[in-house]
């Protein structure tokens, strides 16, 4: 059974062109696979997943957590330590800061996995014989067979026209 086409481009620019073209041609189920981030991919494929805002929210949460922790624990069993005031706020800065960072770090990492739909056990593109190339130096574009516009000849032609080296990926 056929998963789709894996198209290999030798330059990011070509990849972008191809994506634009396919989009223009009304393809939906396509996926770009690259060895490293490619500038300008959001414009064509979109979605950086609101990372900064999530991070900010986490930060607020963490800071709140830190402050609450210290204020609550101090007031829960008030004790005179060295004659310092009970809520000596300057002493609370380090912990608040650290907890903020800690929350963001852990949170954002999990969030990254979440929005990227990781972890994955398997992926059609990975089944491609030359898949490893897109992890090194080439820029891959995977067109799913499930795409309504998908057509063995037409699609292959289109991709090759865009300067790609095309490979059929099917279940072994």
């Amino acid at each position: 059974m056929l998963y789709g086409f894996m198209a290999y481009f030798d330059a990011p620019e070509k990849l972008l062109e191809a994506i634009k073209a396919l989009k223009g041609a009304g393809y939906r189920h396509i996926e770009a696979l690259t060895p490293n981030p490619v500038e300008g991919i959001e414009e064509v494929l979109g979605g950086n997943g609101r990372i900064p805002w999530v991070a900010f929210a986490l930060g607020v949460l963490g800071a709140g957590l830190g402050l609450f922790l210290q204020v609550y624990t101090t007031l829960d069993y008030p004790m005179n330590a060295g004659g310092k005031p009970l809520l000596g706020w300057p002493a609370f800065i380090p912990v608040t800061f650290e907890l903020t960072i800690l929350t963001i770090t852990v949170g954002i990492f999990l969030y990254l996995l979440y929005v990227n739909g990781l972890p994955l056990a398997d992926h059609p593109a990975v089944r491609a014989k030359d898949y490893v190339r897109v992890l090194l130096d080439e820029y891959g574009l995977f067109v799913y067979a499930s795409d309504p516009r998908f057509d063995l000849e037409a699609t292959r032609a289109l991709l090759q026209a865009l300067g790609a080296e095309v490979e059929e990926v099917r279940r072994a």
Binding site: Y77, P78, M79, L110, P119, L120, A121, D122, H123, P124
Partner: protein, 211 residues
Amino acid sequence: MRRRNRWVRTLFWGGVLGIFALLGVVFSGVAVGAFEQRILPVDQPIPFSHAFHAGGLGLSCRYCHPSAERAAYAGLPPTETCMTCHTFIKPDSPKLALVRRSWETGEAIRWNRVINLPDFVYFHHGAHVAKGVGCAECHGRVDQMPVVHQPQAFTMKFCLECHRNPEAYLRPREQVFNMAYKPDPELGRKLKKIHAVRSAEALTSCNTCHR
């Protein structure tokens, strides 16, 4: 392929959530004292029933634990105390054999302690009685216990409950040994002044119980 992906994700995220859930459970468990040990009835060499003596006969606690009012230790009754009655009452009950033997041989009776505070905790019965804290507050309805057990774990938290707001637990001094008495906070507030109970800060400072 889909199934495997779903399975992997479930496993992964399940694991992540599981960790947080576990922490949550453990902590809340600790918070509500789920892991604290209450002490179940302890069997004694002599089947002495507090329910009968204190509850039934209505003997005062002080009859057998005389120093509860004055000293740190409430005190255990010497064999003598038992014999004052039991020379005449049930003089030859088999259950009392051990008591009689102790009386004749002069060899002490070895009771099993029900309540053992950790060694770094200091409790003064006299002081608590003087301030109007009833026996029942800690020991529970001993007058209803055929075999004595410890109604709640004596954790630091338990002591603090009272030391943080004594009002709710004070009673008139004459009611201290009354097992049935229910303290009322209104009166408690007055009693706090009358009995000169110290402020919560003082009562919760470490040296109150630890030396």
